[in-house]
Symmetry: C3
Subunit: 213 residues, 3 copies
């Protein structure tokens, strides 16, 4: 039997999600290596970066179980990834990895923000709370990573547009669904749009306006 369109879509979505979680986990892993953390620290920062955003969202929206409790194999994957990286990764691999995860990270930005927005919508949250959940889902993992590593969060300070795309893309999601677009179509389009905007912003070095005060 051939897979239906819905099954293919679901399959594509799952693959993208795997890529995105791995990209987030790698960004935590690299931050941990750079700060000379030990294996415990590397695992914790990597896991916090991958799942911090979704977990904060679920605590604020009072949703259980958490993604990583229901799909606990993810914790094994991250543990395994961190052990392997600590053993085999060399300093010269770090920069390469950072470049390699830029696209999957942008995919994660798109996916996690629209998923966060959809969950808030399904709970009947007001528009601005929906947008906040989208943004927090996408950025809080990285914020936690930087706070553990004793840095000011990059998402708040590097003047690169990141959260702003989660905000705008989720605003479009709300509009599209309010004019009757289907959930799948609007989610896919908005996630794609957010990811593309982020990729363009990275390669074109777009910057948010600075406070001139």
């Amino acid at each position: 039997m051939h897979p239906t369109i819905n099954e293919s879509l679901h399959y594509a979505m799952t693959s993208l999600e795997v890529l995105a979680v791995l990209a987030f986990a790698c960004s935590g892993l690299i931050a941990g290596l750079r700060k000379q953390l030990d294996l415990v620290g590397i695992c914790m920062v990597s896991g916090a970066t991958a799942f911090g955003g979704g977990t904060l969202r679920d605590i604020l929206l009072d949703r259980r179980p958490f993604f990583w409790m229901e799909n606990a194999y993810w914790l094994w994957i991250i543990l395994f990834l961190c052990v392997i990286a600590t053993i085999f990764m060399k300093r010269r691999h770090v920069e390469f990895t950072e470049r390699a995860i830029q696209v999957p990270d942008a995919i994660g930005l798109g996916l996690f923000s629209v998923v966060g927005a959809q969950m808030a919508l399904d709970l009947g949250m007001p528009i601005i709370v929906t947008l906040l959940m989208a943004v927090l889902s996408a950025i809080f993992g990285g914020v936690l990573r930087d706070m553990i590593c004793n840095e000011i969060p990059k998402a708040f300070s590097d003047h690169q547009p990141y959260a702003i795309f989660a905000f705008l893309g989720s605003a479009l999601l709300i509009i599209l669904q309010s004019i009757g677009w289907s959930e799948w179509l609007s989610l896919s389009l908005c996630a794609l749009l957010i990811a593309l905007l982020r990729i363009v912003a990275v390669y074109q070095r777009w910057e948010l306006p600075r406070w001139q005060g």
Copy 2:
């Protein structure tokens, strides 16, 4: 029809609350500007300062919905405030704003701590938990602000009496209610007392004793 005393009181309370939340939001906004955060960071720190205390209290007491979910227009106000400030605020306005928010900030200290204490009392919490909820409601927003900005929290380190007034005022609240004072009267009196003590402490430059170790 003339408003009853109760309606007038309620109206006064709401106005004070608006002032207090704005003062907390401004203190986050200023911290964000000083650290050269981008617009996203400024909004997040401002919101975290305004609502962090109440949100932690509600998570610990297992109360839902959060204030900012039920009154989501507050998030729009803070977003708007931060956008306007980032565009129009100049460096010379920062110090003036900091002085201007000292009194509303003291009002916030008074209001948020007695409200936090009352919520814990209503849930039948032990005395020391009630006092802790009062203190956390009042200070955790600022603590979060400083942690995000990669500073040791001022509420823990500047040796100015702040949380201590929340503690003492809420202890008085518990005593007054246990000897039969009405909720409204004891809440108003204790909030006022805490705010006044804080204002006096700021202008008289009171200091907590230092560890002489």
Copy 3:
């Protein structure tokens, strides 16, 4: 009437728990004194170190009430301890106290991690979530202490084995219970083993392998 074996065991367990919580509270107290925090900060860091791990575990597992809400006298004890220490403790007592709490701290590592693991097991959590709850219960208080004090968490960066014993000991706990050992016996054995390993590691200066990248 003589106490039964069960009563004696329970009594021993409670005494060890008291020791362990005090050791965690002292480690927060010392960190606060070192950073020149004021009395409010010292109490908060001390309390966060003592109860942060259990509280995060309970939030993640959605368990209420928290330990410190049910046993609120503990908050009085920590408040009292911090006031006394701020008044009477001298700089020369700090180092002595740090050495004195190493053994009770190791006991805390053993106790808190197996208790955290047992709670996750009782809720039917997957193995890796159980291990994570064991580790977080034991280390998150100290992580919070270091984050408030604006340091990279020691548990993540000092390359001393600490969390790793919580991980391994709780893995043994899962195995023992799955082959039919009683709860009490497996808990006691694993807690003891973790504590002993930690004590040996401290005195033998064991180190986790470093990233050679």
